[in-house]
C-alpha cells in the first residue's frame, strides 16, 4: 500500500462558500495521476466515509487538466457559526493523508 501523503504533490482543503468545504488532491506526473485514478480508491464514497457526510451531498470531480481530483462536502457547521472550528476550512485535509492506494498500481515503476 502507498499512502496518498507519499505520492501526492498537494492535498489541501478550503471553503467553497460558507456551507461547503472542497478538498483537492493533486499529483506531480501524469503517470502517478493515472495510476491513482485507475485504483478507483478515490471517489465520492471515500469523501462521504472520511468526513461522515451523505454521499448524495458529495460533489466529486476528477480534473485531468490539473492532474487533480476534487471532492466538495457539506459543512456540519457553517463557516464561523457557533461551534465551527475552521473558518477558512483550510485544515480539513488530514483524513486524506493516510488513504492507501494498493501498490499493485505502482509495480511498473
Amino acid at each position: 500500500m502507498a499512502k496518498l501523503r507519499d505520492i501526492a504533490k498537494i492535498i489541501k482543503s478550503k471553503n467553497a462558500g460558507p456551507f461547503e468545504i472542497t478538498i483537492d488532491i493533486m499529483f506531480e506526473t501524469q503517470g502517478l495521476y493515472d495510476k491513482v485514478v485507475a485504483s478507483g480508491v478515490i471517489n465520492a464514497q471515500l469523501f462521504a466515509k472520511l468526513y461522515d457526510v451523505d454521499v448524495n451531498n458529495v460533489l466529486y470531480t476528477p480534473y485531468p487538466a490539473a492532474l487533480a481530483m476534487k471532492g466538495t462536502i457539506p459543512r456540519h457547521i457553517s463557516s464561523g457559526d457557533i461551534g465551527d472550528t475552521d473558518v477558512y476550512g483550510a485544515q480539513q485535509h488530514a483524513p486524506m493523508l493516510d488513504v492507501e492506494i494498493p501498490t499493485v498500481y505502482f509495480k511498473k515503476d
Binding site: G17, P18, F19, T61, I82, G83
Partner: protein, 448 residues
C-alpha cells in the same frame, strides 16, 4: 486587463503595477472581497483589510491609471460589499484624489438589499437555496443584519458606458467586473468570464503564487495570462490548478446569467511565462443573483488556557462534563439559565481543528490547549458566564486530582477576552430576476 492583487489591501509590488501600466491595458482593477473570512465583515459593516492597507493599494492604482486615462474598476469593496464597505472605499478614493490632485468621474454601484424586498421575492417564490444550504424562512430574512446581492457584469459595463473612470462596486461576483469590462470592448462572453476568474485572484494562477499583478488579454476565443513580475510565471498546470480554487467544481462556474464551463479548456505555453487558454464555453441561463446575508448570533467572550496534567487529560471528557454542569449551576445561581448561553470547549490536542469530524480518538499529547467560549444574546450574561467558567475549569475536582493549585495554566491577565458581536451566514440563496440592473442602483460623482 491588469489585476493588481487578489484583494484590495493585500498589497502588490509597485514595480509590477508599473510594468503592467506600461503595456497600456484597457482596464486596471482588483477584486475587493470574499466570504472566506466569515460573516463578521458583512454583519458588522467593518472592512476586511485595514484602511491604511487599502489606501496604499488604491493610491498606487489611481495615481498610475487615472493620468493614463485607464479606467479603474473594483468589485466587492471593503471585503463584503455592503453599503458601509462601499462608502469606506469611496471615501479613501476622494481623500486620495484630494491629496494627489486627481480628477475623475466615479461610479458607486450599490449592492445592499432591503429586507422588505427580499421578503417580497421570497413570497413570490423567486428565491431558492444553493446546494447544501438550508431553505430560507421569513424568520431568517427578518433576523438578517445585512443582505447584499451579488451583481453580474452588466452594472459594470453600464457604469463605464456612462463615462465613469473609477468604478467602485458593492458585492459582485468576483469575475463580474472583469467580464463586464471585456464584454464592453466586444470580447466574447466565455473568455471574458474566464479571464475574470483568473484576474480576481491576482497572480494566484502563477507559480510561485502571491499577491501580485496579472495581465489577461482576451482576444477571439481565448485568454492569454501573464504575470507582471518575472519572478513568477504562468504554466498550463498553474493555471489549471487555479481553476479549482475555492469552487465546488473544478470546471463549472455558476455566474449571474450563465454558466462558465472550463471542462474542455486547453492550456498552451506561449512564452516562458505566459499561457494561452482556449476551449471555455459560456451558456446563457436564467438570470439568478446570489443573496448573502449575515445574522448576529450573539456576543462572544473567550478565555485561553492549557493543562499539563496527565491525570486530567486521561479523563478529559468526564472532566469537561463536570465543568459544564458546575458552570450551569453557578450561572443559574446568578440568574442566567443554560438556554441563555452557549458554551463550547475547543480542545487543541484532541479535536480542536476538526471537531466532531475528527477520527483520531486517542489523545497523544502531553498537554492540551483549551479555548473556553461563551456566546449569549446578552453581552452582560456572556461576560458573567465566561467569568465563572474560567473559575470552574481551573478549580473543579476530578478523580485522583493532585493539582490542587489549579487545573489550568492561563497565559494572560486579564484572561477573559471579550471578542464582541459575532455573526453567521444566514442567507446564501439565489433570486431569479429578469433585470441585471434593478438591484444595483448606480450613482455618479465628479471627484476632484
Amino acid at each position: 486587463m491588469l489585476s493588481v492583487s487578489s484583494i484590495l489591501g493585500y498589497g502588490f509590488p509597485e514595480a509590477s503595477l508599473k510594468a503592467g501600466l506600461a503595456r497600456n491595458p484597457h482596464y486596471v482593477g482588483v477584486d475587493g472581497g470574499s466570504t472566506d473570512p466569515g460573516a463578521f465583515y458583512l454583519g458588522s459593516g467593518k472592512c476586511l483589510s485595514a484602511h491604511k492597507a487599502m489606501k496604499r493599494d488604491l493610491r498606487l492604482m489611481l495615481t498610475g491609471a487615472v493620468p493614463q486615462r485607464v479606467p479603474v474598476v473594483i468589485g466587492t469593496c471593503g471585503g463584503a460589499g455592503g453599503e458601509p464597505h462601499l462608502q469606506a472605499v469611496a471615501e479613501l478614493a476622494r481623500t486620495i484624489a484630494r491629496e494627489e490632485g486627481l480628477q475623475f468621474r466615479m461610479a458607486l454601484i450599490h449592492a445592499e438589499q432591503e429586507p422588505g424586498k427580499v421578503q417580497s421575492w421570497f413570497d413570490d417564490g423567486k428565491i431558492s437555496a444553493l446546494r447544501n444550504v438550508p431553505a430560507l424562512t421569513t424568520a431568517t430574512i427578518s433576523r438578517a443584519t445585512r443582505i447584499v446581492g451579488m451583481m453580474g457584469a452588466e452594472p459594470f459595463t453600464r457604469a463605464l458606458d456612462q463615462g465613469a473612470q473609477v468604478v467602485l462596486a458593492g458585492r459582485a461576483s468576483d469575475a463580474a467586473s472583469w467580464a463586464g469590462c471585456a464584454i464592453r470592448n466586444g470580447a466574447q462572453a466565455a473568455p471574458s468570464w474566464y479571464a475574470g476568474k483568473m484576474l480576481e485572484c491576482g497572480s494566484a494562477s502563477a507559480t510561485p503564487k502571491g499577491h501580485d499583478c496579472l495581465m489577461a488579454t482576451v482576444r477571439g476565443d481565448h485568454v492569454d495570462l501573464e504575470p507582471m513580475n518575472h519572478a513568477r510565471k504562468c504554466t498550463p498546470l498553474s493555471v489549471a490548478m487555479h481553476g479549482m480554487h475555492e469552487n465546488a467544481s473544478p470546471t463549472l462556474h455558476e455566474e449571474p446569467g450563465g454558466l462558465l464551463d472550463a471542462t474542455d479548456c486547453t492550456f498552451t505555453t506561449i512564452s516562458d511565462h505566459a499561457v494561452r487558454i482556449g476551449g471555455m464555453r459560456w451558456t446563457g441561463r436564467p438570470y439568478d443573483i446570489k443573496l448573502e446575508g449575515a445574522e448576529c448570533v450573539g456576543f462572544r467572550v473567550i478565555t485561553i488556557c492549557g493543562t499539563r496534567d496527565p491525570i486530567l487529560i486521561g479523563q478529559l471528557d468526564s472532566y469537561l462534563q463536570t465543568a459544564r454542569d458546575d458552570i450551569a449551576a453557578r450561572a443559574a445561581g446568578f440568574g442566567v439559565s443554560a438556554e441563555k448561553y452557549q458554551l463550547v470547549f475547543h480542545v487543541y490536542g484532541k479535536d480542536g481543528v476538526m471537531g466532531d469530524a475528527e477520527q483520531v480518538t486517542q489523545i497523544r499529547s502531553h498537554e492540551l490547549g483549551i479555548i473556553v467560549e461563551v456566546v449569549s444574546d446578552s453581552e452582560e450574561d456572556a461576560i458573567a458566564v465566561l467569568s465563572i467558567a474560567r473559575v470552574v475549569v481551573a478549580k473543579v475536582d476530578f478523580i485522583g486530582r493532585l493539582c490542587k493549585g489549579g487545573n489550568m495554566a492561563f497565559p494572560f491577565s486579564p484572561s477573559d477576552i471579550a471578542v464582541g458581536l459575532t455573526y453567521k451566514f444566514s442567507l446564501f440563496h439565489v433570486v431569479r430576476t429578469d433585470d441585471p440592473y434593478a438591484m444595483f442602483p448606480t450613482e455618479y460623482e465628479e471627484v476632484r
